[in-house]
């Protein structure tokens, strides 16, 4: 097992596990910064995982899959459409909680239920199957091969050949950091999340800002969902989000809802998952290995919350 940890495959397996969580964590962070707990991430990812398969297969029908370029076009078509629909789901969720004034947690549970039942219904209608989309010829996200660097041992092997969406997820961290901390819109989002009434008193429409944040959140979650069925795996399977949306809520909260903090926690989660994958080679029962990511998150949440509470109490007593 030790040999396994010091290998290129191990790093790759960390990145594979981190990518979907990272997108979802960014999605949770932007919503949380606007003052909304987006528990609907789970359903958004699940729906997007299915739409990714359907739309990229549709792209394959339009552009073909014969050459590398046409494959890329098919993937691009599917990905953009999925992200667009992801934004739309975010908009619908925003409408429910901001316009119709539904409780955000209950509305999220409803959306997750729709995703869970809806994906099975759609899959049944399109592919005639309930469990997986193996009969649909979807187009996965391509791997990025960097010509010269790829031949460098170890470092090159890690940098080259990663999934395009893995790079995009890292880019998303930088973009979200700049967006939230260096742009006027980011400032407005943080102002609304910090104190809605204060933000409204200086003429910011809190509702509009929260709408925007949730649309962005939906788009980011859909990228994570697309990766699940077009990168992590090459098809959609039932309930494939497997609690990643919920883990992202925890990861984002442990990273103080900042993109960089969320990035670090997501990597930690990826490591836990990669170690769990390695442990499958040992004699430890599979069921115990399966619970590692969730247990790690639970313990991590406890430690982080405890430290935060201590810090706050210290600040209060020093005043």
């Amino acid at each position: 097992m030790l040999n396994g940890i010091f290998s290129v495959e191990f790093v790759n397996s960390i990145l594979r596990a981190t990518t979907p969580i990272l997108f979802a964590t960014m999605a949770s962070a932007v919503a949380a910064k606007a003052g909304i707990c987006n528990m609907a991430l789970e359903g958004m990812m699940l729906l997007s995982a299915l739409f990714g398969v359907l739309f990229s297969a549709m792209g394959g029908g339009i552009f073909g899959t014969a050459s590398g370029l046409s494959q890329f076009a098919s993937f691009g078509f599917g990905f953009l459409l999925t992200v667009l629909v992801g934004g739309l789901i975010g908009l619908i969720f925003a409408f429910c909680i901001l316009h119709m004034k539904a409780d955000e947690i209950l509305a999220a549970i409803a959306l997750n239920l729709i995703a869970s039942g809806g994906t099975v219904m759609i899959l049944m209608a399109v592919a005639g199957e309930k469990g997986a989309s193996s009969t649909i010829a979807s187009v996965a996200a391509p791997k990025v091969v960097i010509p010269l660097i790829g031949s460098i041992p170890v470092l090159g092997e890690i940098l080259s050949g990663q999934n395009l969406l893995t790079w995009l997820s890292i880019l998303a961290v930088i973009v979200m950091h700049v967006f939230l901390y260096k742009t006027p819109m980011g400032l407005k989002i943080r102002a609304v999340g910090e104190n809605k009434n204060a933000a409204e008193s200086v003429g910011i429409s809190a509702r509009k800002i929260q709408y925007i944040a949730l649309v962005i959140s939906g788009m980011l979650a859909s990228m994570g969902g697309f990766y699940l069925s077009g990168g992590y795996m090459n098809m959609f399977t039932r309930e494939m989000a497997a609690g990643r949306g919920y883990i992202a809520l925890a990861a984002s909260s442990m990273g103080a809802d900042t993109p960089v903090g969320g990035f670090l926690v997501s990597i930690l989660f990826g490591i836990a998952q990669a170690v769990a994958n390695l442990m499958q080679l040992t004699t430890i029962p599979m069921q115990l290995i399966q619970l590692i990511p969730y247990l790690t998150t639970l313990i991590g949440l406890g430690i982080y919350s405890y430290a935060r509470m201590k810090r706050r109490k210290k600040l209060l007593s020093s005043e």
Binding site: H99, M100, A125, Y246, S305
Partner: protein
């Protein structure tokens, strides 16, 4: 009935009607025989004695988790580990029934008590984390559900698995099983426990001091704090009790004639169904049997439909979700509410003038 209550009732009926309508529209889209599918969905449960019995059988677990969630949500503790507590409750009942040999009258009581305690221990984790670290019980309970699921499967596979079956426990001994009430059906004595739990839950929340404190914290935590209610006590009591009831439900379900062995290797979803029960019952345990009856009817109908036609059972999840959305959307029918309030105010004014 005052206008606010009447309005809530009207709104709920509308929510359910709209949800059914949306489901029918979906059925028309996906099915080749939509009319037959809808007929099966709506009238299926009345077709035979067995179908009708199915409704009452599937109502039982829903009353338990629904009541548990009502208590936790009344205190505004959004602990979603009822799902895990139900699961662990079932596991512990199975382990106890298999490993502790007791006479027939005593065995179910011991098994059920143990499963309830196991459920309470599980939901205690988010509660204690909230008290000790201020971690959100929502996120920790979501993680805990997965831990509970995999842990239960681990215990099943390692300790109580019958090699002849692959992924099921040894047969639950008859001494521990709950008996069926009617020949030819699987309606079992658990239904009395369920209704008793719902009534006791109501008495606790609405007729005791602690229950009152719990609801005050749920309404307004700041106010409760200033009036001297121990928030920590409420956090712990509500969540432990919620888990206790959900765990008990899991035990009752497993010892019922529906299951001969512990076979739960996937999430059963009763913890999530509890959310809609709680929403429909307006957080009052007394109404949970009615909400559970409605949901059980719907699901039995859907199950009959999915066996007889090409529409999958999962449509029920969409129906449920739409009901939740419309019931919790404050703005839904709010204009009608204003009209209703205005009308009542005018009438009161007239009466006053007449007097």
């Amino acid at each position: 009935m005052n206008s606010a209550k009447r309005f809530e009732a009207v709104r709920m009926v509308f929510a359910i009607l709209i949800a059914l309508l949306i489901s029918f529209v979906i059925i028309f889209f996906v099915s080749d025989e939509p009319v037959n599918a809808i007929v099966q969905l709506v009238t299926g449960p009345f077709k035979s004695k067995r179908n009708l019995a199915n409704v009452f059988e599937s109502m039982i677990p829903l009353i338990f988790t629904g009541t548990g969630v009502c208590i936790m949500f009344s205190a505004n503790q959004i602990n979603l580990a009822g799902e895990g507590a139900f699961h662990v409750g079932g596991l512990v009942a199975a382990v106890a029934a298999l490993k502790i040999a007791l006479p027939a009258g005593v065995s179910p009581v011991v098994c059920l008590l143990l499963s309830a305690v196991a459920g309470a221990l599980l939901t205690a984790i988010p509660a204690i984390m909230k008290v000790k670290t201020e971690a959100s019980e929502l996120v920790s309970s979501l993680m805990l559900n997965y831990v509970a699921l995999w842990f239960s499967t681990f215990i099943l596979m390692q300790f109580i698995c019958d090699p002849a079956t692959g992924a099921a426990s040894y047969s639950i001994p008859d001494a521990a099983s709950l008996s069926s009430l009617m020949r030819g059906t699987r309606i079992h004595s658990g239904i009395f426990i369920a209704i008793l739990v719902a009534v006791l839950g109501y008495l606790f929340l609405y007729k005791t001091k602690v229950g009152y404190q719990l609801r005050i914290v749920g309404e307004n935590e700041e106010y409760a704090r200033y009036s001297g209610i121990s928030i920590i006590k409420v956090i712990l009591v509500s969540q432990l009790l919620g888990g206790f009831i959900a765990g008990l439900g899991g035990g009752v379900e497993l010892l019922s004639p529906i299951y001969d062995r512990f076979t739960w290797t996937a999430s059963l979803g009763y913890g999530w169904d509890a959310i809609i029960i709680c929403t429909l019952a307006k957080k009052n345990p007394l109404y949970t049997p009615f909400a559970a009856l409605f949901l059980a009817y719907l699901r039995t109908g859907a199950s009959i439909m999915s066996r007889a036609t090409d529409v999958s059972f999962e449509i029920v999840q969409i129906t449920q979700a739409v009901i939740i959305l419309f019931v919790v959307a404050e703005q839904f029918l709010s204009r009608y509410k204003h009209k209703l309030i205005a009308k009542e105010a005018k009438e009161a004014l007239k009466e006053e003038e007449a007097a």
